[in-house]
């Protein structure tokens, strides 16, 4: 006879996630019952209010570390708070981009080129479903880095992925491409989820546990079959590496980055990375740390290949979104060195890097949404030439974000790069340091090429123009730029905060 033990849940600690879920449900209800005209503004308000409220509740409970937020399934600790906070802040600034409805299709269900599509465009319908979808994704992202059993981890993974698959297909222009990218993302994502599940099965077979602490105990005990552990780690890593876009599991990211509406790309590129790397850091630091000889060599190789491949292939890109996609692959390689470091400074550096990179990414994509012609966004880099002449401020801001990606001093990217490389080197990985530095040099080349294009080339007269940024986009760009440079000039408060709070409870 099975006795049912009712779970004990610490609602205060789960509040940030629950608030976001609640907000998402309210959003769904608004879609169902509110008149069409009122949806846009009320959805934006609800979404923002939800995220801010969630952030506030997170700040309120920030010091309440607990391994039993939801039995052993969710652990609330310093690193979790910082990661959740980063995700929420990134979500807040990218929500402003969603508010700019120009990039979304008017009616997602209408076939591209059909009469319905034309009618929906004429009626000027707005696609407001994106807000609750984004909130669901945020809820999944919040849960992902604090899950401490494999089942919850998987649920969170699907929860953050499914809305993103949908969002990726909602582009207004080039809809077929957008839908193709969404399908690609979905299929490959499903594929990687299967690997992920397989990994869970092997790990369960190895340790007879699905909780991180149970696996950790089995690793220390060393009684299990080491092959199962190896397979489990390998398959689980495939799922995680897919989400962060590491080579050789990166193939989806350029297409999805390019095909998805830019506002979605911004949110996805920044926030998913934080969530996925957060989960990755947790499981490797908490469960697999003692078995590092099983996975570290392989992960080092992946990190090296990812850095070099991302940087090299980015050189050949002619499309700004694809270039940023490959640059994000290279950055995934840099971030993997934080996982490999497997020490406190590696954890601190990763969290700093994730936040800094996420904010700069949102800012960079926000600028991509501004460069348009009559047919929508212009992502062909050749047509960006002379942007500095036509709209100096937009070009300057973009150059600033690129310099941050390149890791030039006085930007957040430099501090991030320095701290993550030194953490990797501290743990003894000279190869990471050398390759990281060299691929940064390669990466600098294509960032600079874009700066040359914007500032030192004459504009092409083909109707490309920069739209006057709406107040929402302005807020996004302004916050991103201020954070990027503030963290480069005086990062001490954030570094101290991370250093004093970032740790994983076992």
């Amino acid at each position: 006879m099975i006795t049912f033990i009712s779970p004990t849940l610490d609602y205060a600690l789960l509040a940030p996630i629950l608030i976001v879920l609640g907000g998402a449900l309210i959003g769904v209800l608004i879609e169902a019952f509110a008149p069409r005209s009122a949806r846009g503004s009320s959805q934006l308000f609800i979404t923002l209010a939800t995220l801010v409220l969630s952030l506030a509740s997170l700040i309120r409970v920030r010091s309440g570390a607990s391994t039993t937020a939801a039995m052993e399934s969710v652990t609330f600790d310093g690193a979790g708070v910082l990661l959740q906070g980063s995700i929420l802040i990134i979500a807040i600034i990218s929500v402003f981009l969603l508010a700019d409805q120009e990039s979304f299709t008017a009616l997602a269900a209408a076939l591209p080129g059909s009469d319905e599509e034309r009618t929906s465009l004429q009626q000027d319908l707005k696609l407001t479903e994106v807000y609750p979808l984004a909130l669901f994704a945020v809820a999944g992202m919040l849960l992902f880095p604090v899950s401490t059993d494999l089942i919850t981890l998987f649920v969170a993974l699907e929860m953050l992925s499914l809305p993103l698959y949908l969002l990726a297909g909602l582009s207004r222009r080039r809809r077929l491409m957008s839908q193709e990218s969404a399908l690609k993302y979905f299929l490959l994502g499903a594929f990687s989820s299967a690997f992920f599940l397989m990994g869970i099965a092997y790990l369960y077979g190895y340790s007879a546990a699905v909780t991180f602490s149970g696996i950790h105990a089995a690793v220390i005990g060393g009684a299990g079959n080491g092959v199962y552990l190896l397979l489990g780690i390998a398959f689980l890593s495939v799922g995680l590496l897919f989400k962060v876009g590491a080579v050789p599991f990166h193939a989806w990211s350029p297409d999805v980055y390019q095909g998805a509406p830019t506002a979605v790309t911004a949110f996805m590129a920044a926030a998913t990375k934080v969530a996925a790397f957060g989960a990755m850091l947790r499981i490797f630091y908490v469960s697999f740390a003692e078995a590092y000889w099983q996975w570290r060599p392989a992960l080092i190789v992946i990190a090296l290949i990812t850095m070099v491949f991302g940087s090299l292939v980015a050189i050949a890109q002619r499309d700004v979104k694809r270039m940023l996609a490959y640059s994000s692959i290279a950055h995934a390689g840099f971030l993997l060195s934080g996982v490999i470091a497997l020490n406190k400074s590696g954890l601190d550096a990763s969290i700093f890097y994730l936040f800094a990179y996420g904010v700069a990414t949102v800012g960079a994509f926000a600028i991509v949404t501004l460069v348009r012609d009559a047919a929508g966004e212009v992502t062909d880099l050749n047509r960006w030439s002379g942007l500095g002449k036509r709209s100096p401020w937009v070009a300057t801001a973009f150059a600033g974000f690129l310099l941050a990606f390149a890791g030039i001093p006085l930007t957040s990217g430099f501090i991030g790069k320095f701290s993550i490389f030194s953490a990797a080197y501290e743990s003894g990985s000279t190869a990471i340091l050398i390759t990281g530095v060299l691929s940064s040099a390669i990466a600098a080349f294509f960032y600079i090429r874009v700066i040359v294009l914007m500032f030192f080339k004459d504009p092409v007269e083909d109707g490309t123009s920069v739209v006057i940024p709406s107040v929402y986009t302005q807020i996004t760009i302004a916050i991103s730029a201020v954070v990027t440079f503030a963290l480069g000039i005086y990062p001490t408060p954030l570094i101290n905060l991370i250093q004093s709070t970032a740790q994983f409870l076992r």
Partner: protein, 511 residues
């Protein structure tokens, strides 16, 4: 903030930033006010720099005008400033050259891609960084300035230069970034090692003991990271190829700062960082470096002789001069070190004179090809004489400032590396060629077509060039005020290496 308690170094770095902030409020169309603000700011900074030099205590050892604040305590990084004699002289050179560049290049910013406002904002930001890079006593802070100063220079070349300026700017930036990233790897290495063996710090004085715990292999690798970055900056053969392009494409004023100040960061860095942090590795690599330096001396000189473009010519001569400076540094004698530092100062002014007069000539003739000029001595005597004196200073004519420093470098090198010194002496002969040939072609002889209507220097141009020429002449006869500042610091650096000057020896003659 209490101005009385404020560190003069911080003040001199803050002033240009305030100037930049003031420029932000000037309307774009008001170019005159922009220039006036820039000039006033740079003159003020120069006054602060002179005040620092005057109040510098020659007898004291260690850094002066010290300031230290926590910046990123988690990594042991401090905002730490201070100067020894070497750094002070270079800061003095930078702050004196900047207002001269502003005056001489009064109209240079007009032909750029952007408004003069952008030009002067970049210039002022650059001045802050130039002071910061010499004044930092924290390795990390130094690196921040070292890398960040690339950005304004990049835009100054690419936005306001001539010819294929964008390509030259990119070449400059990529070379420098590559070197900088190698240095970053070494800085990470220093950081991890200092954490492992003691306390986390980037303080240069504290780190000077680090080499005692490093393995020779580790020390060599870390040394190379720094040295390659510096060898790109103060271009040593074979890392020099970016310099001629950048110098040719930049405006004359930018070139003055590029060759006069920025490249000195490389040679300064060799003294301050390579020698201080990695003395053993410095010794290991000295033969190789001296060889590269000698090659640079001769190679730069040969290229200069063959140069057809006047700006490229000056850039090539600088490669030769940087060879002398590097040789003097790694000779590890106090004369060599003092001579190298004085050389850096003098080279700043003689190159400035050459570039500025060349700029005046080019702006009149609308050409930078040497063979387009001819017979300027008769048409524009003052301009021609200025060029002549600048050229003589570049070839180290006795009585002009460069002679003193070149002589010291050669003497200092000869006592330890006689062969290198003897070969390097040929560089002086070649210098006579590469200066006298253009002097003869452009200044003397009959006036060639196209030059008849050139006008002589205007009052503004005379004001710009006069202080440079006077400094060259005065320091040629009376270099001791500067040497008094330099010598103690140079001697300290040499003795830190565990070297003492070789005693002069004499072979016994017949009784």
């Amino acid at each position: 903030m209490n101005l009385n308690n404020m560190n003069l170094l911080t003040l001199s770095m803050l002033l240009p930033l305030l100037g930049t902030a003031a420029l932000a409020f000037v309307p774009k169309t008001n170019a005159l006010l922009t220039k006036q603000i820039a000039l006033a700011t740079t003159v003020l900074v120069a006054v602060v720099g002179i005040a620092m030099t005057v109040s510098f205590d020659i007898g004291a050892t260690g850094f002066q005008f010290v300031e230290s604040r926590e910046w990123i305590p988690a990594f042991g990084i401090k905002y730490a400033l201070g100067v020894d004699g070497i750094a002070l002289v270079l800061i003095l050179m930078s702050v004196l050259l900047t207002p001269i560049v502003v005056i001489a290049g009064w109209n240079e910013s007009e032909g750029g891609r952007w408004s003069p406002k952008v030009f002067y904002s970049l210039l002022l930001v650059l001045e802050t960084m130039m002071i910061g890079v010499f004044a930092s006593t924290d390795v990390f802070l130094f690196y921040v300035f070292f890398e960040a100063m690339l950005v304004p220079v990049y835009f100054l070349i690419g936005g306001f230069g001539s010819g294929d300026r964008a390509a030259a700017a990119v070449k400059f930036l990529l070379y420098s970034l590559f070197g900088g990233l190698l240095m970053l790897a070494s800085i990470v290495g220093i950081f991890v090692m200092s954490t492992r063996y003691g306390n986390r710090t980037f303080d240069i004085t504290a780190l000077s003991g680090l080499h005692t715990v490093l393995t020779p292999m580790m020390e060599n690798v870390l040394f190379l990271g720094f040295f390659i970055a510096f060898a790109i900056k103060a271009p040593l053969w074979p890392l020099h190829t970016w310099l001629p392009d950048a110098a040719k494409s930049a405006t004359p004023g930018t070139s003055v700062l590029l060759l006069g100040v920025l490249d000195k960061v490389g040679t300064f860095g060799m003294i301050r960082y390579c020698l201080t942090l990695f003395p053993e590795a410095s010794k290991t690599f000295t033969p190789m470096i001296i060889t590269l330096a000698v090659i640079s001396i001769l190679y730069g000189a040969f290229l200069a002789i063959g140069a057809k473009d006047i700006k490229r010519l000056i850039a090539y001569t600088s490669i030769s001069h940087f060879g002398f400076i590097t040789m003097g540094i790694f000779a590890m004698t106090s004369q060599g070190m003092s001579g190298a530092t004085l050389y850096m100062f003098n080279h700043g002014f003689s190159t400035a004179a050459l570039f500025l007069v060349a700029g005046f000539m080019i702006s009149r003739r609308k050409s930078s090809t040497i063979s387009d000029f001819g017979g300027l001595q008769r048409i524009t005597p003052i301009m021609a004489w200025s060029f002549f004196i600048a050229g003589m200073s570049s070839l180290a004519l006795p009585g002009l400032s460069s002679f003193v420093s070149e002589f010291l470098v050669l003497v200092g090198t000869f006592t330890r590396y006689p062969v290198a010194a003897v070969i390097a002496t040929f560089g002086i002969v070649l210098a006579a060629l590469y200066i006298l040939i253009p002097v003869q072609r452009a200044l003397h002889g009959p006036t060639t077509p196209g030059n008849e209507n050139l006008t002589d220097l205007t009052l503004r141009e005379k004001i710009a060039i006069a202080p440079v020429i006077s400094l060259i002449v005065i320091l040629g006869f009376y270099p001791s005020p500067l040497l008094n500042i330099i010598n103690p610091a140079a001697a300290t650096v040499v003795s830190q290496q565990g070297f003492s000057d070789p005693a002069p020896t004499m072979s016994e003659g017949k009784k």
